[in-house]
């Protein structure tokens, strides 16, 4: 994966040397050509996917996150502005399938920043996140809400 990026940068440098123009524009031009080359030579290179795929998936993840952030912040404001506060807080266990440390960190960061849920603890075997929910409905809908949006998108990002 990282080798693909390195090859692309080297190809851009090669293009600058071939055309003897050492400017940012020439680098960009060479880089775009290099993308084509890397796409053609993909079966020979390490990594199963083209390296711009995770970049694209990261952009999609950021979009999902922005949407959830705004929608759920409005939710918390609705709770705070009630006449008589009658939320039902709860701690619930969320089983995660993510393995790597940075994936779990990213997931808990995203969960914490989406209002309605805060990660309180992570179990020692890193398979369960304990989440505090400010207004609990039922376990299945809470778990599936996270699983369908964030965990799926993070998995897509980390595919190599």
């Amino acid at each position: 994966m990282a080798i693909q990026v390195l090859i692309n940068v080297l190809l851009a440098a090669l293009w600058m040397m071939l055309s003897e123009t050492y400017t940012f524009g020439a680098f960009l031009f060479g880089y775009l050509f290099g993308i084509l080359f890397v796409l053609v030579a993909l079966p020979l290179l390490p990594g199963n996917h083209f390296y711009l795929r995770p970049v694209w998936k990261t952009i999609i993840l950021a979009m999902i996150f922005m949407k959830e952030l705004i929608l759920a912040n409005i939710d918390v404001i609705r709770i705070v502005l009630q006449k008589e506060i009658s939320n039902k807080p709860a701690f619930f266990a969320y089983p995660t399938e993510l393995k790597k440390d940075w994936e779990i960190t990213l997931l808990s960061q995203l969960i914490t920043l989406t209002p309605g849920t805060i990660v309180v603890a992570i179990s020692d075997d890193q398979k369960t996140l304990y989440i505090h929910s400010i207004d609990f409905s039922d376990i299945d809908s809470e778990v599936s809400a996270i699983k369908d949006s964030f965990e799926k998108a993070i998995k897509e990002v980390s595919i190599r």
Binding site: L81, N87, F91, F92, A93, Q109, A121, F136
Partner: protein, 113 residues
């Protein structure tokens, strides 16, 4: 024309951010226990400050054509550290034995300890 549009966008963002911060402060006053308060303080205020900083960034782009990278770094820094603080406060509160409010309907963490 573009200047007016950019400045209007920045003013709208700053006002929304200020309102988010206000509701976060209101939440700290009204919510029953430390965990619920961490929701208001850790997140609504993070979003509020991020919106205010983004508004300032856009304002200076519109007014002077000046892109302030330090503001961008500030936004990213707050984005990373804000939720982390909320997580650590609620985690240490739970392990210190702070009782959550009586309305709590479910506690999976108690069994796991």
């Amino acid at each position: 024309m573009i200047e007016t549009i950019l400045i209007s966008i920045s003013v709208i963002m700053m006002v929304i951010g200020a309102f988010f911060s206000l509701f976060a402060a209101l939440g700290i006053l009204r919510l029953p226990d430390v965990f619920s308060r961490a929701h208001a303080s850790g997140k609504a205020s993070t979003l509020g400050v991020m919106l205010i900083l983004t508004g300032v960034l856009i304002y200076f782009i519109g007014k002077d054509g000046h892109f302030n990278v330090q503001l961008l770094l500030g936004i990213i820094f707050i984005f990373i550290t804000g939720p982390l603080a909320g997580h650590l406060v609620s985690r240490s509160a739970y392990y210190m034995g702070v009782r959550p409010s009586e309305r709590t309907v479910r506690d999976d963490l108690k069994d796991a300890k």
